[in-house]
Each structure stands twice: as structure tokens, then as C-alpha cells.
Symmetry: C2
Subunit: 579 residues, 2 copies
Amino acid sequence: MDQGTRLQAITRRIALAKGEIRAEVLLQNARLVNVLSGEIHAADIALADGLVVGFGDYDAETIVDCAGRYVCPGLIDGHIHIESTMLGPWEFARIAAARGTSAVIWDPHEIANVLGRDGIEDMLELTLTCPLSFYVMASSCVPATGMETSGARIGPRDISWLMAHHSGRVLGLAELMNYPGVLAKDPLVLAKIAACGCALVDGHSPLVSGKALNAYIAAGPNTDHECIDLEEAREKLSKGMHIFLREGSIEKNLKDLLPAVTDFNAQNFSLVCDDRDPADLLSHGHLDHNVRMAIALGMPPVRAIQMASINPARHFGLHRRGAVAPGYRADVVILDDLENFRVWKAYLAGKDVAETDFTAPGAMPARNTMCLAMLGGKVREENLAIPQVKDEVRCIGIVPGQLVTRQLHVRPLLEDGQALADPARDMAKLAVIERHGKNGNIGLAFVQGLGLARGAIACTVAHDSHNLIVAGMNDKDMAVAANSLVECGGGMAVAENGRVLARLALPVAGLMSLLPAEGVVRALDEVHVAFKSIARNPEVDTHPFMSLSFLALPVIPSLKLTDRGLVDVEHFKHVGLWV
Amino acid sequence: MDQGTRLQAITRRIALAKGEIRAEVLLQNARLVNVLSGEIHAADIALADGLVVGFGDYDAETIVDCAGRYVCPGLIDGHIHIESTMLGPWEFARIAAARGTSAVIWDPHEIANVLGRDGIEDMLELTLTCPLSFYVMASSCVPATGMETSGARIGPRDISWLMAHHSGRVLGLAELMNYPGVLAKDPLVLAKIAACGCALVDGHSPLVSGKALNAYIAAGPNTDHECIDLEEAREKLSKGMHIFLREGSIEKNLKDLLPAVTDFNAQNFSLVCDDRDPADLLSHGHLDHNVRMAIALGMPPVRAIQMASINPARHFGLHRRGAVAPGYRADVVILDDLENFRVWKAYLAGKDVAETDFTAPGAMPARNTMCLAMLGGKVREENLAIPQVKDEVRCIGIVPGQLVTRQLHVRPLLEDGQALADPARDMAKLAVIERHGKNGNIGLAFVQGLGLARGAIACTVAHDSHNLIVAGMNDKDMAVAANSLVECGGGMAVAENGRVLARLALPVAGLMSLLPAEGVVRALDEVHVAFKSIARNPEVDTHPFMSLSFLALPVIPSLKLTDRGLVDVEHFKHVGLWV
């Protein structure tokens, strides 16, 4: 904004606040949850030009009688991977805005692994005009490791570029998961911190403490969302980290960490989601769920709302956001019920969310990322064959309900010189197929405990490089499931007897859908029903796709499979399939 | 800092924190007042390269046994006019650093009125290497009004210039006293807000409330240090202002406002001094006095210290300052006694203050600002004559102990067609002599209640334009007092019977001394003793120079005198001497 425009804007704000120009909306008879004064007080709140005009008896085009309802600022999620919702950002915004969200700080780590800086910039451009604000932290660890093939790399120059070209929207460096790299003074890792100047750096340092934590913090990161117990949170807080109290669909820490919040330090905590799966988003909500939960756990509502509005706004330096006060962006939520945070009406920049069109202004970018050209465009059964070499294989052992795996040594089912899946022992064949058009790598192994009785399942959400991962009891169904995803641009599929039983297409980078949220949840349900039809124990609820999507992530112990083969995570090295 | 240097710095910080390089100082057996966690906990704190390395059993060149003493971050004064101490900034730093201060946010409003942008830049340059950090808010109201002649004007382009050329040190726009101008949408005033972009704007809006306050805040200002009662503070807080709890030598608000601070809003308050006279500074201290007082008034020590360290640091966006934590600037204070905030030892950027040289690196700039060229270089008795025109004059009536004055209509002592001072009625002649070399204006009037029996007093600290103000019972002594200040570059003087009884020279802009603090206080004492020797009631303690220095400020009611003549402040217009 140039100085003349700014001067005009200030002049108009004064005229509006003095009541010389009619406001657009007056929220009458509100009880304002004032996150600045920490009090709840009666207020009539005028909105105009996307901003809060002030409190008082203003004249307005539209008068909304709040009838004593509570009003609070729009919620701000300080750390989320939008990709976990499988929704396009505008569709996410449609759902979250109605739940009271006004802004998110997005680490587009998954998009970045597939499409790099271009993917991030596509998303920035796509969401530029969205009334729910998408701020971005530049993804710091792409690829996550050198033991896999990702779709892209993000280096220090990309970080500088993003910060410089999207100033005010790219706020800093996203969660710096490679804490061993920081502690080892890896120049490439540190150059990324240096590249973002004195800006914000999100941390990710589970269980790091003592001098190592001093070093990690001194290097740059000043938030943490990975604390699992009170002591860890207290140490990180005392050393200068803003603590994100995470409550996601997978990792849930809010209840354990809430006692770390006191009257003297509450300003240093924010509520965040990190991830939120589509069904959770629709049924439980977005950050409203976390606020509700914090209140249910005994936190005073004013403080719970502070931790989801003004606290993240201040931490990230968001100018005049996160509160309802004169000159602040008019992100205002009217609640039917404070304790349960039930939204009656929400405004984003002064516009009623119910009357807002959340259609993305252009086509979703970042399609067609299924590039198997090096394999001739599709997966063939022979690509999946494992000829016998020795007698015993390293097999990934799933630990129910966890992301860590065990390393098993097992004699596979052998037939005609081939190692085969063995339904009798719940031992499926597993393939990770490079899908970014880089090298056509296929990693092959076995996984025990996925719960398949027959058929195959495939997925392109496969952290962090998001290659095509397939598990099955026979090569044919594996190829069918995999190729069905190649055909639709990625997603999740279940196959049996040579045909696809169910499929959720995720054509945006193989990660996000073009469907409305309700359609995504319906398709996911169908995929899960299909899985049950080929499962060993259909009556037991499991999360086979969740398990599958983490089997390729070589930073969580013990044994994982990438497109380059098995990884012994404890020793952080590739190991052979045959013992 | 370029990226290579930054990378090197990060690498070294990590090595230090890991203990691979020996630290410089280890503060052993400390009890850390942790303003981040809000707790007090045991810690050994290592310092090196000007930063806090971390907590732990580090090896260090110097081990300091704190023997269980409390340790806290250096204090940060969010709003002060250093000129009120009459000390050069390095000398101020010497005194304040030993009292635990690590940084000040300085509105150089007085210097700016005399020397404009050049004066501000001189001070910025002078203090660049000072271990106590001088941040500046660009003075917004220079001159304060159009009814007086100041030494300089500061316009929107000066604001932009200062922000751009001293980025990171000039943080925003200083207290915007001209709130009527803001509310009237005065384009010049608003252009100054626009010129500082989205940066910080300090407010100054005593008693402004309701829609007017909405307008003022929406226009930009987001702090207040002028609240006089709880309701005012609460309204300003609730509308988004960070509240500076002021306790200065003149204006004292801490006790009245402290009840506004709660567990839910304490992060939005800071302790500030605004002004601090030299004697107060030496006897009671700087911000340590305010912390002590807040604790004595019942505030928990951790919170009082938060309000004087991390709160102002965050409000002003001071990167990694205001707390003792890894990577933070090593501004550390060791206390002999927490409740009384008695400093045992202080470190600025890791260096022991007791071993720090506070000699300014160059000569103090901004001397020789007594320019009476238009008057031929000095004040003559005939310049001070008031020939009779009518029978009754408007006379300024001093209200004991206050800055407001009354407007009296009085028949002056008349002799030979001249109106004269009248010791019998405590009615002195008053002159405001333009001293910036602009026009040689002399405003003449009478003041009742200053307490002079004979002689004259003169001063160049005369808010806000800092012209030469003289009051006396005869023209000769008035000229002598005035000319003695012309000769020494400004200051304060007392004259009787044609000779100077005492003088404090303030050669830096007529506002600040070149002496050490102790010398300034001694000279001030001498000036006061001299005043008593010519006073009507030597046994009564009054503040004649304080009164004098505000008699030329035409923004405090009711009747004031500038170089352009009498000002009826209520009607904000010049009025004639003769009724």
C-alpha cells in the first residue's frame, strides 16, 4: 500500500469511527469475549471496510441483534498441514470458516515434497483472495531424508525467494524436523535458517532437552508442537519456545500439556491442530474443537479463546488480527453457547460467512503428478516380483495403533523361486513406487499386521515423499490398485480379483481432492467399507491407510520402506530385503 | 547481516550451547526469574558472544557464584524522554545500567524541537555502540503547536527517512499528542502515521473515550501512558492499547492503575518512566524504582519484572530481548534482594556493567543552539520593557503543584508609562525569547505565584519549543540571567543584583549537560539554593524551574506564554496582554 492510499484509508477509518459515515454491520447486544482486556463485557460492535469500526451505538446498514450472545475474534490455527484434510484450501476454508476459523498458518510440507517451491507458490496464489487467510511457513525439510526420492527439493534460495516474493504471507521457516542436522551444524540446514533472516522458525524437536535443546533454540526455532509430557513442555517454554498445544486427528497432546499453562505464562501458548482428517473436520470441527476441549478440561473460556486468537496472532506478528478492537480485521464469531463454542454466525473481514462464496477463483493447480514414465506409464505385475535370494527376509511389523514399526526376520512364503505374500500369517507384499518421474525406482518388501485377507490397497499419501505405496496379497491386485491411482492422479484405492472396489481420487498432487468435504468423507467411507470386505477381521476397526501412509517415512523407527528399499531407521541406513 | 555471517553466527551458537566451545561467563547457583515460564527456578546460566548460551553445567572463562541470588533479564523502559534526566545518553546509560536497565525506547521529543531530524540522528549515531540500547520512536509533534517558534519541524518525510535509515532502531512514531488533529483528520498529522507504515505508533490521548477513542485507535496509536484512572485504562486496554503504567518524576499513575492488571491481561501492560529528573534518577533509580514500587503495591515480583522486560520487548518487537533464554541477548541482572530489586551485578550483552566504559565515543553533538542573532546576540533590558497600553493585563496564575494555570485579569504596577513586576503581589515579569535564530520574537507577560521576592530565573528547558524563558522582578536581572544562558549554551540560571548566583549549563541543545550525573545534581542543588535566596518563602519547597518550563507549553490550560505572545489554551488562540 502506498502512502497516499494509506492516508486515505486512515482518514476513512476515523470518519467511520466517529460515526460520520454509516457502518456496514452493527452487532447489537453482544457480550464480547475481549481477549485484550481478558474480560467479557457488553458491547455493540460496528464493522465496515473489512475492519472493526469500534464499540458504540453506531448507525449501520445491517443491524444484527446478538440478543446477549457471546462474540469473540475469529480463530487462528498456528500450525496446520492443510493437506491432511485432503481438501482444497478453499473447500477447507468453507468448512473451517463456519466453525469460526479466520486464519491458518500452513506448513505446505506435503505439497512441497511433491511440487517444491512451485507447489507452494501455486497455493499462495490460489488462496490470495480467500477471506479465510492462508499464511505459510516455508517448508524446511524437503526432502525429509536422503533415503527416498521426493518430487522436489527446497533449498535456502527457495526459502529466501518465498520470504521475499510473498512478504507478509510467508512468515518464516516451517517446522525444522531435522534437529539432528541442526545439532550437527549441517551447513545446508543452517543455511535455511539463515535464509529466513530474523524471521520465525517453527521447531520440531521431540524429546530434545538440556544442552541439545539450548543449541537447537539458539540456532533459531522458537515454537514447539511435539511436547508429549509436562516436563518437556516446561523446559521448552522456559527456554523461550512458544508452545503449540496440539490436538490433531493423529497426535493428541492437549490434555497432557494443559497443566503447564499458568496465570503467568498463558500468553506463550497457542492451540493448534497440526493435522485434521476430513471426517474429523466435518464431525468435530477445526480449531473450535480444540477450544471446546480446552474449556471442557477446565480452562477459563477467555483464556482458551486467547490461546486460539490473540496469542498466535502476536506470536506470528499478524498486524491487528486476533482480537475484536477498533482497526482490527473484522473477523468476528458470534456464539450460541460459549462453553461449547457453538457458532451462530461468523464474519470474515466483515462479511457474513454464510453469504460468502468459497469457490476457488481458478482451477486448482498442481494436478497430474502421477508420473510413471520411467516405468512405461504403469505398474506391471512383473515389477512387483520378488525372486528368492536367501531364506529369510526383513519384514516390517506393524504395532497396532502406532506409527513405529518392528523389524522382523521371517521366512517368506516361497513358490517357484518367488517370495510371495502369505495371507495365513497376515504378511502382505509392500511396494513403494517412485511416482515423480525421477527414476522409476520400486522398493519391495513385506509387511506383517496390516490386516488384509486378500486383494490390495494403494495410496499416494505416503509421508514424506508421497510416492505410490501399495500393499497386497497378490501382485495382480497390487498392480490394479496402483494403476487405478495412476489413472486418476493419485488417491486411495482398494482392489480385489483384478478390479477396483473403491477409490478416492486426490488429483491435486496426489494429496488433495476436488470434491466438497462431504464427498471426500463419503468416498473415504466407501474405501474403508471396501477394505473391510477384504480384511481378515472386518469387525475390528483399523486404520490401514494411515498405517500405509507412514510405512514409507524413514524417520520413525524401526523398519521402513522407501522407493530405494528398506531403511533401518535406528541406524539410518538402507538394509537388504534378504537377511 | 549477510547470509554468510548469519550462518557462521548460528554455527557458533550451536557449538557454544553444546559446550564444544568454552563460554565466557557462567552464572552459577542462580535463581532465575523466568519471565517466559513465569516461574522462578534454579539455573546455571552461561553467556558468550553477547548472548545467553543456555542453562546447564557449562565450562566458562569466568565463573560467578550467585550463591542463590535471583537473576532476571535487563529492564526495558518502553517510554522515556532521556532529555528529562538532563544527562547525555551515555551518562544516563552509566547510571541506569547499574540499576538494571538494558534498553530504553526514547522519544527524543525535546531534542527534536530544538534540532529536528538532525538532532535525532546525532543521538542515534552517538548511541550506536552503547551497550545499553537506545531505540527511538520518531517524534510526531514537532512543533507541538503552530502558536510558537520551535527550532525545527518534523514532517512525514522525516519520519519515513528515520524509519528507513535507522531500521531496527527507529521503531515507529512517538506519542501522537495531537489527538485533536487526528480526530479532525488533519492531513499532515495523518501523513505522519501513514509515513511509518504499519509500524508502532505511541498514543497520547488523555481522557479521550468512546467513539473518539475508537477513531484515535483505528487511526494508528496502540499504546497509552496518560491514563489517570482505572476506567480510562480499562477502556483503552479493551480497545487494543498496550497500557504503559507511568511513574515519572512529575506524573505518577502506577498506584492508581495497577488494579487494572489481571491474570488475563497482564501481558498488555508495561512499566515506564516517561520522565525522570536527575536527582530522582540518582536517588531512586530508573525503571528499578518502578519495579520496586509495583512489588511494594502487591504485584508478584515475576509479573512486575515481566512488565519491565518481556512485555515491552514483545510490544516493540525487539528480537530475542527481554528474557534470559538461549539465543537471547545476555542482558542479565543479579539481585541481592528480589522484593527490593537491589542490583548486585548487571551484564549488558554479556559484559559486566561494572567493568564497562560508558564514555561516549565522540564529542556530544548538538551544541551551540543559543542563537539570538536576530536580537544582536543578547537580550537587552529594553527588549523586556512593557509600555502601558491599557489598565489591566492578562496574567498567568500558577496553581501550586500543578501544570495547569489560571487566567487572571490584574492591574499591573505602572511606573513612568511602563508596566512592571510587583514583588508585593508575587507578580513577576515573564519573557519567552525565541532562541533558535528564526525570528527574534520575544513574548512578554506577567506571572503570579512563582514565589520570587527579587532577582530573576531563566531556563532553556521550556516545553515544547524550548525557547529561553525568563521570569524576574526587574529587567536587569532578567537580562543577566538570560544572557548567562546564551553564553553557556543554555541551561538554568538564577540572578540577582546584576550578577548570576548559580547556573547549570546544559550545552547540548540547551537541554542536556556534559557533566556526570552527580555534577548535574550538585549544580541543580546550587541553583535551587540560589533560588531560595531570592524567594519570598525560602522555607517552602517549590519547583520554580518546573513551573517555568511548562509556562510556555500552549497545550495545557489555561493561559500560557510563547515567543509569539499569550495563548488562551481553552480557545487555542493568541490573546493580547492588555485586556
